[in-house]
């Protein structure tokens, strides 16, 4: 059964790294075309949560998982090739991590790996995705120059364009503005608000104010437990759990 409007549904997810438990019995739904924000102090399992959604946790050798994650009702560990899953569920990391190749090649990397060679298709994808991430005007004349020459904020928008080129369903953002100045941060946030028309966005942030600015629903993680999940406006005005109110008012974290 797929209930309408649910993109991801997570059922009883446990994640262990060796003996360490990173996520404990997590169950929640992420709705299509919402910005779902995840807040919590360091080591609360936020990044693990994102990496469980596109199976990047598989790269950690001693990682064990139980429970189920469904994307559009399909178990991501059974009904889908991992490469296809990662194309549908793109991720932007905390630091801008362009590959040491040209801007153009960064954007089309995923498409090339799918075997797309047609130059016209690649050109179109580059322009479309760079426009979507508001980088096109700044780089359209130097697409063949190294991506490493861009500023940090531009690099991070390039990383967004890179996943948009593959026409994903879901965008995962892992503290995408933690290394950026306030102006670059504002641009990234504006971009996210635009992108939610077409994509489902999951934003992990350690900046509580950012969650309040862009989130529609927010989950609060603490030490691997989901403490509370509710509409962002509700969480920031009348949180149910006292730990949530302590965290968002800055008593710890």
């Amino acid at each position: 059964m797929v209930s309408a409007g649910v993109k991801f549904s997570i059922l009883g997810l446990h994640v262990h790294y060796g003996k360490l438990c990173a996520l404990r019995d997590l169950s929640l739904d992420i709705r299509a075309n919402e910005i779902f924000t995840v807040i919590g102090p360091a080591n609360s399992g936020k990044t693990t949560f994102l990496h469980a959604l596109n199976r990047l946790v598989d790269l950690v050798p001693d990682c064990r998982l139980s429970g189920e994650v469904r994307l559009d009702g399909v178990n991501i560990r059974a009904g889908l090739e991992v490469e296809a899953l990662r194309r549908k569920v793109g991720i932007v990391f905390a630091l801008p991590l362009p590959l040491p190749i040209s801007i153009f090649e960064n954007v089309v990397y995923g498409l090339r790996m799918q075997g797309i060679r047609d130059p016209r298709l690649l050109d179109e994808a580059v322009e479309r995705s760079l426009r979507e991430s508001y980088l096109w005007d700044e780089v359209k004349d130097r697409l063949r120059t190294p991506a490493m020459n861009l500023s940090g904020g531009q690099q991070q928008r390039l990383c967004m364009a890179r996943i948009l080129a593959g026409q994903p369903d879901v965008l995962l953002f892992d503290e995408p503005t933690s290394g950026l100045d306030p102006i670059s941060t504002a641009r990234i946030e504006e971009t996210m608000l635009d992108l939610k028309e077409k994509y489902t966005i999951v934003l992990v942030t350690n900046n509580v104010a950012q969650a309040a600015r862009v989130g529609e629903r927010t989950a609060f993680f603490l030490m691997g437990d989901l403490v509370e999940v509710s509409a962002t406006s509700k969480m920031f005005t009348t949180p149910v759990d006292s730990r949530t109110s302590d965290y968002i008012t800055g008593k710890f974290g």
Binding site: L59, P61, A84, I91, F93, L95, P100, Y109, M113
Partner: protein, 281 residues
């Protein structure tokens, strides 16, 4: 003693140590050039030896060494790089991969004459390749394999982890990630290993002694199953085994060997810096 004085003494000691390293190299090169340069001529480089190797050139030895080095590299580089890719990118840290790594380290410490005997036993006798360019190349190839594997491993490990994570997160498969986001960036380091291997393969005498090198051949090798003359062995022969060879011929041969190794290295270094310029991170 004041700190300034202590610093001066320390600098002096460091400088002296550095000079002591450079000094012998300069002296060796100086002697070889001074005594051998007069032998170098077009005829010396490009003609066959005559009159019991006392006259004529050393062309077959130069050509033989080029064949052997080329053969060794053709064999050892692909094999070594593939092994390194397996060790770094595929194998987990278990007893098997630790055993392989230990074997590689030990292989690097084996004396070259042992490789020669090994080559004699395996390639010459067991596989019946006879004393031939094939046997010699394979023996030299196995000798330089540890150098190639070790430097390729280091090159692969020095490619930042996040290149792999990013590539995989964009939907690339494991092999695509290695092929497009790891190997291209490890190439300069892999070439460094090849350079080191080249130099060593060109200069070694013991591994080719039993497997390929000929005392004297009146004609050039026609196939990989022929024996060949080679510079290091030829140098040994004319220096100790054949009386009445002019001194400048012996030093001239050494000079040619040195120059050949230098040229091979130079070519590889140029190639490497080309790749380095293209890749930046």
């Amino acid at each position: 003693m004041s700190a300034r004085l202590a610093q001066k003494i320390a600098f002096a000691v460091l400088l002296l140590a550095t000079l002591l390293v450079v000094f012998p190299v300069i002296i060796i090169l100086g002697i070889i050039v001074a005594k051998g340069a007069s032998a170098i001529s077009w005829e010396f480089l490009f003609s066959m030896p005559r009159d019991g190797m006392t006259a004529g050139g050393i062309f077959p030895a130069i050509l033989g060494t080029l064949y052997l080095v080329l053969g060794a590299v053709l064999f050892a580089v692909p094999l070594g790089v593939l092994a390194a890719v397996y060790l770094v990118e595929y194998s987990s840290d278990n007893w098997f991969s630790r055993l392989v790594k230990l074997a590689i380290v030990n292989l690097a410490g084996v004396p070259s004459v042992v490789y020669g005997l090994f080559g004699l036993g395996i390639f010459v006798t067991f596989f019946r390749f006879g004393a031939s360019i094939l046997s010699g190349s394979l023996t030299l190839g196995i000798m330089i394999l540890p150098v190639i594997i070790t430097s390729a491993r280091e090159a692969l490990e020095s490619v930042p982890r996040h290149f792999r994570t990013v590539s995989l997160s964009l939907g690339a498969s494991h092999w695509q990630t290695i092929r497009h986001s790891v190997l291209p960036h490890a190439l300069p380091g892999i070439l460094t290993g090849m350079i080191l291997g080249l130099g060593r393969a060109a200069g070694e005498t013991a591994p080719i002694l039993f497997t390929v090198a000929a005392f004297y051949l009146p004609r050039l090798p026609q196939s990989v199953f022929d024996q060949t003359m080679a510079l290091p062995y030829h140098l040994y022969v004319i220096s100790t085994q054949v009386p009445g060879i002019a001194e400048n011929v012996r030093y001239g041969t050494a000079l040619v060997l040195l120059t050949l190794v230098l040229l091979l290295n130079l070519a590889a270094i140029l190639l490497r810096s080309r790749f380095r310029r293209k890749k930046k991170w």
